[in-house]
Symmetry: C2
Subunit: 189 residues, 2 copies
DNA sequence: ACACAACTACCTATATGCAGGTAGGTATTA
DNA sequence: TAATACCTACCTGCATATAGGTAGTTGTGT
């Protein structure tokens, strides 16, 4: 997904990266202005307010997720889940980042209504996809678990960002353990 | 634990509350100065730097956790876990707060080394207590699960804050579902 | 083919506001 | 009289945002 061609796209990519690392509010225009060799004001040319950039980052990430789901459309259920896990492993490896959803969830009480809506809808989209994928794997006999599909989708939604948080304080070992436990949830009994 | 008598303690309590709601960096001295009817500079009298207050908040929360473990020392394993869960339910109910550990984990890449150490040690303390409690319940026959005690402790460490994050975007229903699934982990087959 | 209008992608300079922090003073209590 | 618990009055730095300008490009009518 790192196909940033023009300045606008590069701002979104860099912005997303910083936000995932240090959070939406700690991130500032100066950092990316410096890296892109443009001025602070030029970022305002593309994104008049910080909220605009925040929304663009959420939308970009949502598009990337949709792309991931389409790319794996014909894969086995486990491979679909593994594709998602892989991106989380990438986040952790590259600077202990959080995912975009948990980044904005962390700042949820201090973002605008439009942003809250955007994150919530994005989170719902992922939840629905997870539930569908779990159901698919269950029906094909690939998975085995006792919880309801919806409940397990919820568990995944909580544990994936949870693993990233735990990994920040507990290091790679803690992160890996959590992800492994997560994989086991579809192979219980 | 809300037994704030003197100004110093009240600053810690209010500081903790704000940090859990909006994060360590978004929180500022003015807010609590206003609520306590003192001036910004007076907070610096007790906590010369923001880091000092951050460390005090972590330490206070750690003490509260230790108090919880001692209060439930002779309780059944499930009641111990339930006591911890209850505080998370309280966090969610009262303003969609995060727990202190996940609050600082969220800001992990932008806090000082001393704070990182304090959070990590605190997280380790909780993990160890969880593992001990899970082991206790398993050996007494109260619990039943197939994972290793350490792995399941890790799952709890990830899912409790995860539930709070999920609850922010998905509302009370999502939070409750996740917590229920968490409870089921000690009763699987 | 050429003049001119309009747009894109930046720039400089500056306003505004706020956050963390300090210096030094006062009032109260032990 | 010394410590404690505040205060007033600042400084500094930085972050978001705006106003207004320039250089180059693209489109359009005659």
């Amino acid at each position: 997904m790192n196909t940033a061609q023009n300045t606008r796209d590069r701002i979104i990519e860099l912005g997303r990266d910083y936000m995932q690392r240090i959070g939406y509010h700690s991130f500032n225009y100066k950092q990316i202005a410096l890296e892109l060799n443009i001025k602070n004001a030029s970022i305002h040319h593309y994104f008049p307010s910080k909220e605009d950039l925040g929304l663009a980052v959420i939308e970009k990430d949502r598009q990337d997720f949709i792309y991931l789901t389409q790319k794996t459309k014909k894969a086995k259920a486990m491979d679909k889940l593994q594709a998602l896990i892989a991106s989380y492993e990438y986040y952790f490896r590259e600077g202990k980042k959080l995912c975009v959803i948990s980044t904005f969830s962390s700042s949820y009480n201090e973002i605008t209504e439009r942003m809250k809506l955007a994150v919530s809808q994005y989170a719902e989209l992922v939840t629905v996809w997870l539930a569908a994928t779990l159901k698919e794997g269950l029906e094909s006999g690939e998975f085995s678990f006792k919880e309801s599909v919806d409940d397990l989708a919820n568990v995944w939604m909580a544990m994936m960002p949870g693993a990233l948080l735990v990994g920040r304080t507990g290091g790679k070992a803690a992160f890996d353990k959590t992800i492994n436990s997560l994989r086991q949830t579809v192979k219980s009994s």
